[in-house]
Every structure is written in C-alpha cells, then in structure tokens.
C-alpha cells in the first residue's frame, strides 16, 4: 500500500461551500465518491476481486473432482453445498480486501488525510462499507455462478447424477437458488464484518490474522465440542461463519441447528455490531 492515493481536486467539495448541516448523512455522496476513487485506483483491488472469483471456482471444482460416491452406497451428498466449497477460500480473499481498505490507510498514514478532508468519521466508514459491498456483490455473483456451473459439469461426470439418486445442481431447485443468493450475500457480509474488525484492530497484519481467525476457528471449536451438545449448538447458532454458512445447505435442512436465512441474519447482526463498534471507536480514538 505504498502508492499515494490522490483525490482529484475537482471532485472535492469546493472550499467555502456550506456543508449541509442538520442531516445525519450530510457529506455521504462526497465520501462515497472519494472512497470509490481510492479503491479503484489502488492497484490490487481488481486483482483481489479476480482472485475471489478464480479461487472460489477453482477450489469448488477441485472438491467436486475429488468427490466420489458409488450409487446406493448410502453416502448423502449435498451437491450444491459441495459445489460452493470454494466459498470457504473466497471469503478469506474478500476479508483481505476489506482489511486493506482501512488498515492500508493506517499503515501509510493516509487515514489522517482522509479524516482531515472528511472530519465526520462515521460517514467515511459508511462510505467504505457501501463501496466495498458494491464491489464484492458482483464478484461474489460471478464466483457463485461459476462454482455452480462447474458443479453441474464435474459432479455429473463423477456419477453424482439424478439417475443415481442425487440432486443435480440446478437453479430450477428452490433450495439451490436460496444457497446461491445466500452465498453471494454471505460474502458481502463477511466483507462488512472484516471491515469492522479491521477498523477496530487497525494494524494490517494483526487485522488479517484476527479476521481469518474469526472465519476459521469457530467451526473447529464446534467440532471439538462434539460431546457437549449444548455448547456445540450454541457455537453453531451464534458464531459468524457457522451460522452464516448454514445457507449453503440444500438437503437435510430441517436437521440444521439454525435455519439458513436465520443463520445469515446472525451474520448480518455480527456485521452491524462490528461496524457500529468500529464507528464508535473511530469517533473516540485518535487517528
């Protein structure tokens, strides 16, 4: 992040122009434009978004290729979920993009310039969140569509076909549509949680570690608690990734600890909480 991020002068509010006082979101359009300019001119943004798509599809395809299941062997494969395995990796890339958006500014000192230009820090955070979401959503859409298409092709090649009693990945199937839309939203929400945590932590490396830890540690904790059902179910209901990834399931949904949409709601609550805490800390802490 050693590139100097310049904001074109003419895009800033003209000096002397009165700031529209009184409204909560005054200055938001300018902040949005500034954040958009910063993000799109930093080298790396586009390659990270491309990496999100490529890694998600590639990991999904590799998993599908490694998935074998003889007919009648009683192995219950959720073909949609298997196809969307790449989300597990894609979310890490989205998290990195979110961390870079804010920690990059802290590590170069750019944040002081940003806050000098936009003293209303909550507005800056809101603008960053909005711009991030607008970039992640289309990338996630491509990644999910690619994964499902790959799943349809590769899994059928491996004999996971309707003829053998498995559901083929198809958008004509309601739960698959839910999983597809849900995982696009999931990636966007992961970006928002990560942005919040990175704003709280500030240091780029520590923030990356913290965000990825948040993504990958709770699912394992739930696994350790195998014999302690109460605790295990608590983790599965309320940990961001455990709850959020419930959306990937298309079979045996009734046996889940948390229903798909409710799980995504839990993740949304985490995102709101992280951004709120980040907003408060931005106001009270020195930049």
């Amino acid at each position: 992040m050693n590139q100097t991020m310049t904001i074109a002068r003419h895009r800033l509010p003209r000096p002397g122009r009165p700031v529209r006082a009184g409204t909560t979101w005054a200055g938001l359009p300018e902040a949005l434009r500034a954040e958009w300019t910063k993000l799109r001119t930093v080298p790396g943004t586009w390659s990270i978004l491309a990496a999100t798509c490529v890694l998600t599809v590639a990991v999904g395809a590799a998993t599908e290729a490694a998935t074998r299941c003889g007919a009648g062997s009683g192995c219950a494969i959720d073909s949609t979920k298997v196809s969307l395995t790449g989300i597990q990796v894609g979310q890490a890339v989205v998290a990195v993009l979110a961390v870079l958006m804010i920690s990059g500014e802290y590590s170069t000192g750019m944040i002081r310039t940003t806050f000098t230009a936009m003293p209303r820090r909550a507005i800056v955070l809101a603008a960053k969140a909005a711009v991030l979401t607008c970039l992640v959503l289309p990338a996630a859409l491509i990644a999910v569509a690619g994964s499902l298409a790959a799943g349809r092709l590769i899994l059928s090649g491996n004999g996971i076909t309707a003829a053998h009693g498995f559901a083929v990945v198809s958008l004509a199937y309601g739960p698959t549509v839910r999983a597809a839309i849900g995982s696009v939203l999931y990636l966007a929400l992961v970006g928002l949680v990560s942005l919040g945590i990175a704003t709280i932590v500030r240091d780029s490396a520590a923030a990356t570690g913290a965000v990825l830890g948040m993504l990958y540690v709770p699912p394992m904790i739930a696994l350790f608690l195998g014999s302690e059902r109460t605790w295990q179910h608590w983790v599965e209901r309320y940990a961001p990734t455990n709850a959020g990834l419930a959306i990937l399931n298309t079979t045996r949904v009734h046996s889940l600890v948390i229903s798909p949409w409710a799980g995504l709601g839990v993740l949304a609550a985490w995102a709101a909480a992280a951004l709120l805490a980040a907003g408060v800390l931005l106001r009270v802490r020195d930049a």
């Binding site: 998935t67 219950a76 298997v82 890490a92 870079l100 570690g209 830890g213 350790f224």
Partner: protein, 537 residues
C-alpha cells in the same frame, strides 16, 4: 586545541559476517518485540487450554461414572490394546506338531436390532443371515487362552478370502474367494519351536505357504485348535469425516470343519470347547459353542481377535488416542504462522530490511538465520506445550472414562517431538511465504489459507470424505499426520478419521509439509537474492 578521537572499532569485527552473529541479531530482533513474544506464548498456551479444558467423556455405567467404567482391556505381545474374544475348540500341543483342517462352510448371523440378539428367542426374529466382512473361522495355535497371548492363525473370512493372522496386528492374504461345500479351503499350521508356518490349499494336495512367523513367548505347551469369531457389524460409510459412526450390531459366525488332523498332540486327546475372553460390548447369546457329529466339527463364536482401534466399535468403551488432546494445535499454529510471516514482512514495511541487508549482505544466510530462530523458538515452545497436552490430557480422558489406546514411550515421544517439529517446519514455510510476498496482509492471508485452511476443510467435515482425504494428502496440512499414535488396520473395520487417523502415515505426512517448506525456502532465498530490497509494506 585539537583532540584526537580514536574511532570505535568493534572487537567482533573479524567475525562480523559469522553466522553466529547473524543468529544473535535475529534472536534479538525476535525477543525484543514484546507483542510477538506474548503472541507466541499465547499460541502454545492455547494448545494446552484446549487440551485441558475442553470437556471429554463423562461415561455413566452401572458401577459409577468416569474411570470406574473402564474395565481391563488386554494388551497383545506388542503392547497394543487388543480384542481377544472368540470360541475355541482345542487340545494341548506340548512340542512341535501341526494341525490341518478342511473348512466347508462359513455362515453368520447379524442382529438387526442395535445392541444385540434378543435373548432367549430361538426364532429368527431380529436376525439377518449374513456374514460381516471380517467374520473368521479357522485354526489357531495360541500360547495360552489368556486374552492377549501370542498366537498365529489360518482362517477363512467373510469377504476377504483366506488370511494368516498373528499377534493381533499382522495380516497376510492367502487364497481369495469365499468358502463353500463346492469350493472348500484346506488350512494347515505347523509348529517348530517358536516358528509357525501357515499353508492353504484348495484340494488338500497342493499346498501353498502363506507365511512363517516367529512368535516370542511361544515356548513349551501351547493350545492348537479350531476357532470362530465375528466382530460387531459396523459400516463406516459416511458422507463426511466429522459424522461419527453409526450403531453396531452383534454378530456370530459358524465354521464347519472336517478332515481334522492334529499331529504332536497327546495320545487320545479330546477337543474341548471354551470361550476365550469376554466381550464388553453387546453379548450375542445365540448358539455359541462347539459341536461334533462323527468327523464333522462345528464351531460358533462371536468377538474378534485383533487390535482395538479408536475408530472402531469393538470394545464397550469410548476409545481415544493421544491426538485427541491436540485439537487446539491448529489455533496455536494459526498464531505461529502469522508471527513467522511477520518476522520478515515487518522489516519490509519499516524499511529495516535495508539496514539488515547492509549489515549482512549475504542474503541467503540472513534467511537461514531467521528460519533457525523462528524454527527453534517454535519447536521448543511447541514441543513443551504438546507434551503437557498429551500427558495431562490423557490422564483427564482416563478420569472421564475414555480408554486412551496405550502406546510405547518411543511413540509418545515421537508424537510430542514430531508435533513440535511440525509446528517449526510450518513456521519456516510461513517465513518463506512472507519473504516471497513481502507484504504483511498478503503474507498473513496466504499462510493461513495455505497451512491452516486445508486442515479446517479436511477435518471439519464440510467436505465429502473423499475430498477431505485428498486435502489431507496433498496440502501442507498433511503434516498433522505426525500426531497419530496408532496405525490403521485394514483387517479391522473402523471409522478412521482425524484427529486419530490421517490418510498418510505419520512421517509421510510430515515429509509432505517438509517438501513445501523446502520449496518455499528455496524460492524465498532465490527471490531475496535476485530482487531489490525496496519491497513494500
């Protein structure tokens, strides 16, 4: 007035380029960053916190709870826990001799209700007439009928053909195919001192040697005879690793023998039937025993002669291995790889790398010094934490009523030292990735995705078993295989899954991780020499 100032000369000048100085410099850089030291201590402490605090096992049974439920599990000649439950019809064999039989039939019954046969019912209610894959009947020469004694046996099995098995863990394949009256199997065991040789034949004329084994402790009088055993019916065919095994049903197997010929036995000796060992699991009461009708002998038995596996259902207990206490390892590893990657990336961010390289222009050596420092710190702290987790954790498991499979001290030491070494090699891989990528965020993300994520994907059960297995073979997460303390046995059906079992053997998995680290370190050294040290934050 002028004063002459003598320039300061370092007394170590002659050795300035020495590797020891370089090591000392890197060690100073590491230990003086308080945040790193705290983080790495937290990392290893977390390994122990998970081992000691995550609750495991609180078995309830008739005689109380926890450790009170653990009965005696026999151990075989190699010290491993074994099942040794079967029905035997035998005679003493004082010296050298042989036993030959023809097996004309192997049939079985499996209880269809989980738990066992409905006792007292002579009818076929709740019974399925079929064989479990490792149902076995044949001939055996055993040191004694005390469970866990040395033995060698030739047997026909449910679906694995003729086998020669000895001392619980060893298994050699003989003639393939199943046995029937139309295609009987002839089996022979000969004893010469402590050497036992097994033969099989399809016609009783042309014999093939299956194997010769020397059994320690097989001196003096032994018992030779016919046996039958049938392990619990258990199908570990599950969609993912994480889902634990389903229920298991009791089963019995019946072998029919004729042309029985014992040589070297006492004159006029009689075949005496006897139940060896007693299963802790569901007891099948149906028809166990030994019957003789002229020259036809029928032996019906239940149980198994083989090793106890953590993945199986062969004992009445919850079984575990040392690796059950290392579930916190990956959290510690996550923190360690982040620190290791930052060990070099912060130098780029702060521009310190320019100073470092000016002071020690031989860049390959610099990387080596960093690798040695981070590797040694991780190895020593990691091994210590793993030792506490394994030793104290096993005690807690036993107190909770979980039977931790016994292993020799060499194996226990290998698990402890090997796991410490695994953490160290992973930290060197992370350092290499940090050197290659130079930027903190990219490097931290890359090491987590490359080293920690495959383990999470492979173990957590989000993937189908075949995909999980593949991940744990080819990614750096294969290194976790070093924590296995007991081997898999193909002759025991089980739900072989992490953390007790990995698809690769301990050192093979470790070698995969070492391969990644070697390639990473080589690439890092090459790029460090070739690139300008400007770098990026």
């Amino acid at each position: 007035m002028t004063a002459t100032i003598t320039p300061y000369r370092s007394p170590q000048q002659a050795e300035r380029d020495g590797f020891t100085q370089l090591l000392h410099a890197e060690w100073t850089k590491f230990r003086t960053l308080r945040g790193w030291v705290i983080a790495i201590v937290i990392a290893v402490v977390l390994i122990d916190v998970v081992a000691l605090l995550v609750p495991r096992g609180n078995n309830q049974c008739g005689s109380g709870s926890g450790a009170a439920c653990l009965g005696h599990v026999p151990t075989g000649p190699g010290g491993e826990a074994v099942n040794d439950t079967y029905y035997l019809a035998a005679q003493p064999l004082a010296g050298d001799g042989s036993i030959t039989v023809r097996v004309t039939s192997l049939t079985g019954e499996i209880a269809t209700n989980e738990g066992g046969f409905i006792s007292g019912s002579g009818s076929d209610h709740g019974v399925m007439h079929s064989l479990v894959p490792w149902a076995k009947a044949g001939i055996i020469i055993a040191g004694s009928t005390r469970p866990g004694s040395a033995y060698a046996a030739m047997m026909v099995t449910g679906s694995h053909g003729v086998r020669m098995q000895y001392d619980y863990t060893s298994d050699i394949a003989g003639l393939p195919g199943s046995v029937s009256a139309a295609s009987p199997r002839w089996l022979r065991l000969t004893r010469s001192g402590d050497a036992i040789t097994g033969y099989d034949s399809a016609d009783g004329k042309h014999w093939t040697e299956v194997g010769t084994v020397h059994l320690s402790g097989l001196t003096g009088a032994v018992r030779a005879g016919m046996f039958a055993a049938s392990p619990l019916d258990f199908t570990p065919n599950l969609p993912s690793y994480a889902e634990s095994g389903g229920g298991a049903s009791a089963s019995v197997a019946t072998g029919v023998f004729d042309h029985v010929d014992l040589r070297g036995g006492a004159p006029g000796g009689r075949w005496a039937g006897q139940q060896v060992g007693s299963a802790n699991g569901p007891q099948p009461p149906r028809g166990i025993g030994f019957r003789r009708a002229s020259a036809r002998y029928t032996v019906t038995g239940s149980g198994d002669i083989g090793p106890v596996v953590a993945a199986g259902v062969n004992t009445g207990y919850d079984t575990g291995t040392l690796a059950d206490h290392l579930l916190g390892l990956f959290i510690g590893l996550l923190i360690i790889v982040v620190i290791a990657a930052m060990f070099i990336t912060v130098e780029y961010r702060r521009g310190l790398i320019a100073t470092t390289l000016a002071a020690s222009p031989r860049r390959g050596r610099l990387l080596a010094a960093k690798a040695v420092v981070i590797g040694m710190v991780t190895f020593l702290l990691g091994s210590a934490a793993v030792a506490v987790a394994v030793i104290a954790g096993s005690q807690i498991s036993r107190d909770g009523g979980i039977y931790v499979l016994p292993v020799g001290w060499l194996t226990e030491a290998r698990v402890i030292v090997g796991t410490g070494a695994m953490l160290a090699v992973a930290s060197v891989l992370a350092l290499s990735i940090g050197t290659i990528l130079r930027r903190s965020v990219a490097a931290v993300a890359a090491v987590i995705v490359a080293i920690v994520l495959p383990y999470v994907l492979g173990v957590s059960g989000v993937l189908p078993a075949s995909a999980s297995e593949w991940i744990l073979r080819v990614t750096p997460a294969a290194g976790f295989a070093i924590e296995q303390s007991v081997p898999q046995y193909q002759q025991v059906v089980g739900h072989y899954a992490p953390p007790d079992y990995f698809p690769l053997a301990p050192w093979s998995g470790f070698a995969v991780l070492c391969g990644y680290a070697a390639v990473g370190l080589g690439l890092a050294a090459y790029l460090l020499r070739r690139r300008d040290a400007g770098g990026a934050g």
